[in-house]
Each structure stands twice: as C-alpha cells, then as structure tokens.
Symmetry: C2
Subunit: 437 residues, 2 copies
C-alpha cells in the first residue's frame, strides 16, 4: 500500500498538535526560495498547499543540496517533516523538513508566472489545470454538479440517462454532429428532453444530466460545442410550477457554492455580495412586457422577434437576482412548447437570465400535451414525422400536463465564479477551433 | 400552480390517519375491475400504485359511469378520495373515491400482460419504461449512480468531466465512432482515463462519470454501444491501493442498493443472499494462478492469452464475492499500464469479475509513469505519437505513481438486480441494431 505512507496536506492541521509528530507528504514543488541558512519549498499535493521549511544544519547536507539545488517547478517530491501551526501560513500550518526525496525531476515547466496568451494556455490545458484559479473554478463546478444531484435526489426525482446517439432529430438539424452508426446515421443529442418526457409516466419526477452537443459556428464567450446540461421534467406541473422549481434549484446551488467553496471564490476574487441575495422569488416579466421595456429604453425590437444577447443584458441589469422572461411568441420557440390558452400567439415557456451580464442559463417550458396541436406544430416546422412517432405516443397513451427545463452548467458556473468565459468552466473545453488536448 | 392540487401516492399513508381527509391524486390507470356494486381502479402516479375503490351509490351516477365505462389502460385521471389504511393493499392504503376526472382517454395500449417479443418491447421502450420490472431496474440504476457520486464526494474526490469529442485516439481505433468536426475529425471517447490522469496533479483524487462509446459489432448480453462508466484516478496510489478502493466502492454501492431499493429488488424477485455477503476483502488471484487453475479444470488456455468470457465465468464461480484477477501479460493489456517490476512480462493491473456469471465489471491498473517506457509502448503499439504528446507531458513535468479503474454501470446494475441482459439496465439502450427510440 503506497497510499498509507502519506498524509494529505488538508489534514496537516490535525497532526500539528503534537510537536513530535513526523509525517510524509507527496506532491509537486510550486516554488522554492533559498537563503543562506534556510530554504522554503511550497508544495502542492492536490488537497492543498504547504510551505516546507528547510533549515540548514538541522538536516544532513544531501537533503540541503537536494532542496536548494536543481529542483524545477512541478518536480515531484516526498517531504518528511514535523507540521507546526503557524497562523501566517496558508492552511495555518508549516512543515519543518526532516527528509526529502525526489520522485521525479521535471523538465522546464512551460507555464510561467507571466501573461500567456489564451491559445497557449488552452494548448497546455492538461497542465494549466494545476494553476490556482483553474483549480478553484473546477472545484466550484464539481460542487455545483454534486449539489444538483443532491437537490433532485433529495426531492424524489429519478435520474434518467438519456442517449447521446440518436436516430431522432432534436431542435435544429443544422447544428447537429453526425456519425456513421453501422448501416445508419446517428446524431449527437442536443437535449435529453424528449426522452425524460417519456420517463415521466413511470417516475413522475425525473432528470437527466449529461453532455450535449451543438455544432454551432459561434465563437462567443458563452458557447461551447460540448457542454453539460441538467434537464428535469415533472408530470402534472405547469409553467408556474416549473419556474418555482427553477428558482428553488438555482438558489440552492448558489447557496451551496457560497457555503462550501468560500476558499475557491476567494482565490477567484469573486465579489459574492450579489450571490448572497439569490433567493426565491425571482422577478418575472412576460415577453410582451420585456419588449415594451426594451422599446422604452430606445431599442428597435418588435414584438415577435426572439430576444438577443444585448436585449438580455439590458433586461437582466434591472435586478441583482436572476430574471424570468416568460411566454415568448410561438414562432421564436421550439415546436414542443404548449400553446398559451390565454394568448395563442405565445407559448407557456420561460428563459432565466443570470445577473451581471451572464445571460441565459435556463430555458424551460410546459410541453404541448395535445396530440393534434403537437402533430400540427411538427408539420409546420417541416420536421420529419416518422422519427417523432414515439414522442407522439406520449400524447396517445395517457397524455398529461408536464413541464421541464434545461440548465447549462458552464454558464451557471461562470456566473457563480464571476469568470468571463465558459471555456474555463469545463476541464477540457471543445470550441469550434479547439478539439485538443 | 397545478402541482399543489395533488398529493403523491407515496405520501398517502401520512394522510390516512384522519378519516375526514380528502385528497386528489393524478396518474395513470393500470387496471380496472368492475362488480355490480363496486369497482376498483389501480392507479400509478410515478411514486407508487394505489387501489381506488368506487362504491356505487356513494358517488353520483356520472362518476360511476366514468369509472366503469370506457377507461382504457394508461388513461390519465385525477382521483379525489379519502385515503384509508388497509394492511392488504399495496403501499398499505386504499383510496375511497369521491370524485373522478378524466384528463386523457388513452388509445388501446400496445403493451399487454402477455409475452411480447423483446424487439417489440424495445421498439416500444418509451412505453415499456412504465412496466413494474423496468421501473424497478431503473430505480436501482439511479440509486447506484447517486451512491457512486456520494461515495467519491464524501471521500474528497473532485469530479472531472472528460470530453466526449476528442482528437486523440483511445484504446483501439477500430471500434471508434467518428464525426466531422468543422475541418477536423473527432472521435467519441471510449474512456476519460487519460484526461483524469491529467487532473491528478491538480486535485490528487478525481473521477469522471459519463457515457462512453464502442462501435463494436457484438451482440452479446453484456455489450452496449453506448454505456456509462465511472473512472476514478488517484495520485500516489499503487495497484494494491487501487484494488482496495474498488472493493470498498463496490461494497458500498451494493449495500446502498440493498438498503434503499429493497422494494425494487423484491419486484425483480432478486435473491439477495449473495449480495448481502459482499464486503472487503474480495478474493484475489494473479493471472498466472488463474491460468493454472483453468488448466487444472481442463481448459486449453495458455499463459499469455487474455481471458475470455467463459474463463471468467469459471473463475468467478469459485466465490460468492466479486473476484480480482491481477497482473495480466503485457501483450494482453493496454499500453498505459505500468510494467510489473517483479515480472516485466506482466503489468500492474486487475479485472474485477462479478459473481453469478455477470463477468467483468471493472478494469483497473497502475499507470506507466516512466516517460521512456511509456513512449516505447506507444511506439510498439503502432499508435500515432503526436496526439499523445500531451499525455506524455504528464511524465515530463512531475511524473508520479498513480492508479485508477473504470466500472461499467449497466453490468454492475445487471448483477445487483439479477437481470440477464444489460439492455434493460439503461433507459434507452443503444445496440448494434438499435438506435431508436
């Protein structure tokens, strides 16, 4: 057992109480500073950073030579020593070195503490992950994702994994990746929604949570070709229930990140005062009200057109909370959304706009549950009917009111962490011009 | 708010205490039985089933007519009534109907309580999900997956989502799906392993958990073209640590399913006596011992050949626990596995075989951390070197001992639920001849 030989840096404070304790850590050298009588090594082991103190004269000459000689950044070391509480040290503890072993001497590390271009950093993404802000951002991502699983599991939702490879065609055929599938063609799913709808009569409250794909030729800071999305779907829930679930989930996730990722948000220099106010209810504005508001601000938008990113920024700026815009024109939205009985030009749907200019993080709707209206919409959109027969079956055999939504993880984490670009919010981003590493 | 009007069937016992309580449920009619003076409707709402009692004379004639008339299976209804504790009833409660509303009259439901062929059922997978055994199996799957997330989260692992679309080539190029990616070709990942290895120096203990793809022309009961896999990776862990983590995780997941899915395992008629014994340590047999054992049983296997499914069944039959087979011949395993210093013909790796003939559920290994040996192996395998430069970087900049494994979800759930075929263990299976629905 190799693992039993090492203590993790995050556990060092526990060991610092007894002055005679000796422990061994294993990790990577971040920096070294050498003075005449003492040297300092900052070591990262993946659970934290610790400053290791090497006092000349108190260790043998070979250990001093090793610690102060050719020890490039990111070299792997085992450090034996006595943990000592020190309020000034990061993590509250220092390690007084008694022994040092070189596991692997690194070549000259390409990422230096200077301004690198983003393409250079992305080319070295497999190494860039080790940098403190990247670590912090991805820790928030991981906590947000676990939080989402917990939120739904605790509320009795059944997780339903929906297929990536699909013969049916999702939202817009122009932005699909396709692959040869034995004798057929398969498309990479843009959404699991149609499938989670099918699972509702079995489990009532369900969700899927996986990667989705868009072959969009966009190079904005909000777009990835591969991103993760959580999509809950609830039987016997209407559009109002749906918005309530959204504000509860988003508030839960933000509170959880604030609670459990305080250190990470500090590393990212995130001003959390806005996030601390996130709680239900969120402000709601109908699409029609939104258009009137935008026009009053001088916009030339006309009723019927979808909102653009600039419009969203203006609307979201009205509140420190995320803002719902609901009931868009039918023509601007997907075929499966339920016609609004009070205004059949619109559908029962909503977007949720994050504050601070982070834009749309959720799209949701009540689903069309009337067989004939749904079939008509499929025809109006010019979609092929045969692949949607199984979906229409859900309106043949016990149709039911139901609603759901999709939340994009990277946009949500970008907002929570205050980072400008979604590409840093996923470990290995895929962009139009980026498929490696 | 539509949702607030309904009580969930799983909560009916809570409401049954007060004899005057009236509640409304919404769900789907599974069966109806009509007698002269009373009728019974079994309604499924996705959280449970409840028998609803319709007493003629105590309801108005329209309600009696509706409940006893043309009400096909899977029709959607709202049932108002008084919950009444009844030890004989499934769920311990009956609902005395006081009002009945038809939400949607179903067409004649294609799945009937008779033997359908599996192709017919798979063609109707979107409806078959509603059947009790399918519901039970997928509930176990969902609990197992949440259990895995909790297991790793509680132990300080950071979740790292690895890309599906990748320019690098994984294990064996012959079984990859590919897609046009703007001006390049992308392959659908067969594993996230190489990427989680890159995340180890940032987070020490990491895991990925997502769909993976194999374009294999296999039609066995153990193969899917799209399946879910969890892949942890741990820095400063050797092959022994790795096996210990595997037996801990598998034991945790089995215990959790037994604890939280007792009802579902009963529906599946699972004999759980074997599962109840699953606890560390699991028996371990080296590959060399395994070959000798198989030869002693009359097999013609020779040292150096990989084990086949039939060999695995013979080996696993020796124990009620899952069985480790470790340190296979180098030639039978992937290039990234670490050479065994005690016997360089072999690598430090293991498979984990489930009992009762369920076969391999885990493959794991310590990874080759020596730059030159790894480069040599890449060349020996005839793999293109350029796409692996970033992976080799992990051995240039602070190489470190590390180990990990991959556990296939559908095989694991098939074993836990005692179902013969992995295709029922995923909501929408993808097989060589199955891309729909």
């Amino acid at each position: 057992m190799l693992q039993d030989r090492f203590v993790e840096v995050q556990d060092l404070p526990r060991h610092a109480a007894d002055p005679d304790t000796e422990v061994t850590i294993a990790g990577w050298v971040e920096t070294t500073r050498v003075h005449a009588r003492v040297a300092f090594l900052v070591v990262r082991d993946g659970t934290g950073l610790v400053q290791c103190v090497l006092p000349r004269g108190e260790v043998d000459e070979a250990t001093w030579e090793l610690g102060t000689g050719d020890l490039p950044q990111e070299s792997t070391v085992e450090v034996r020593g006595r943990p000592k509480a020190d309020a000034r040290a990061p993590g509250g503890v220092e390690l007084l070195i008694t022994g040092l072993t070189l596991v692997h001497r690194a070549e000259t590390y390409p990422i230096q503490p200077k301004e690198h271009g983003v393409e250079f950093l992305m080319d070295h993404r497999h190494l860039w992950l080790r940098s403190s802000q990247q670590r912090a951002g991805l820790r928030v991502r991981a906590e947000v994702m676990q939080g989402i699983h917990d939120f739904f599991h605790d509320r009795g939702f059944t997780r339903i994994d929906t297929p990536i490879l699909t013969g049916a065609i999702g939202e817009s055929a122009g932005t699909l990746f396709s692959t040869e599938y034995f004798d057929e063609t398969a498309y990479l799913a843009q959404t699991g929604q149609l499938y989670v709808e099918a699972a509702c009569p079995a489990f009532r409250k369900v969700y899927c949570f996986g990667p989705t794909f868009r072959a969009e030729k966009s190079k904005t800071r909000r777009h990835l070709t591969e991103f993760w999305m959580v999509e809950p779907e609830v039987a016997f829930a209407d559009s109002d229930d749906n918005m309530r679930l959204q504000e509860e989930m988003v508030s839960y996730v933000v509170a959880r990140a604030l609670d459990r990722c305080a250190e990470e948000l500090k590393v990212l220099e995130r001003d959390t005062s806005g996030l601390e106010k996130v709680a239900p209810p969120f402000p709601r504005m109908s699409y029609t009200e939104a258009v009137e508001f935008l026009q009053s601000k001088g916009s030339e938008i006309e009723w019927g057109r979808d909102l653009g990113g600039a419009d969203e920024t203006v609307l979201a700026a009205e509140s420190e909370l995320p803002t719902f815009i609901y009931n868009y024109p039918k023509a601007a939205k997907a075929f499966y959304m339920k016609e609004n009985p009070d205004d059949p030009r619109t559908v029962l749907c909503n977007d949720l706009l994050a504050p601070e200019g982070y834009g749309e993080i959720i799209g949701g709707s009540q689903r069309e549950d009337d067989f004939h209206r749904l079939q008509t919409r499929i025809r109006e959109e010019g979609l092929p009917e045969e692949p949607y027969q199984w979906y229409l079956d859900l309106r043949r055999y016990g149709s039911f009111p139901h609603s759901g939504f999709g939340l994009g993880i990277e946009r949500t984490v970008a907002w929570i962490t205050g980072r400008p670009h979604v590409r840093e919010m996923i470990p290995f981003p895929r962009l139009m011009n980026r498929l490696n590493p």
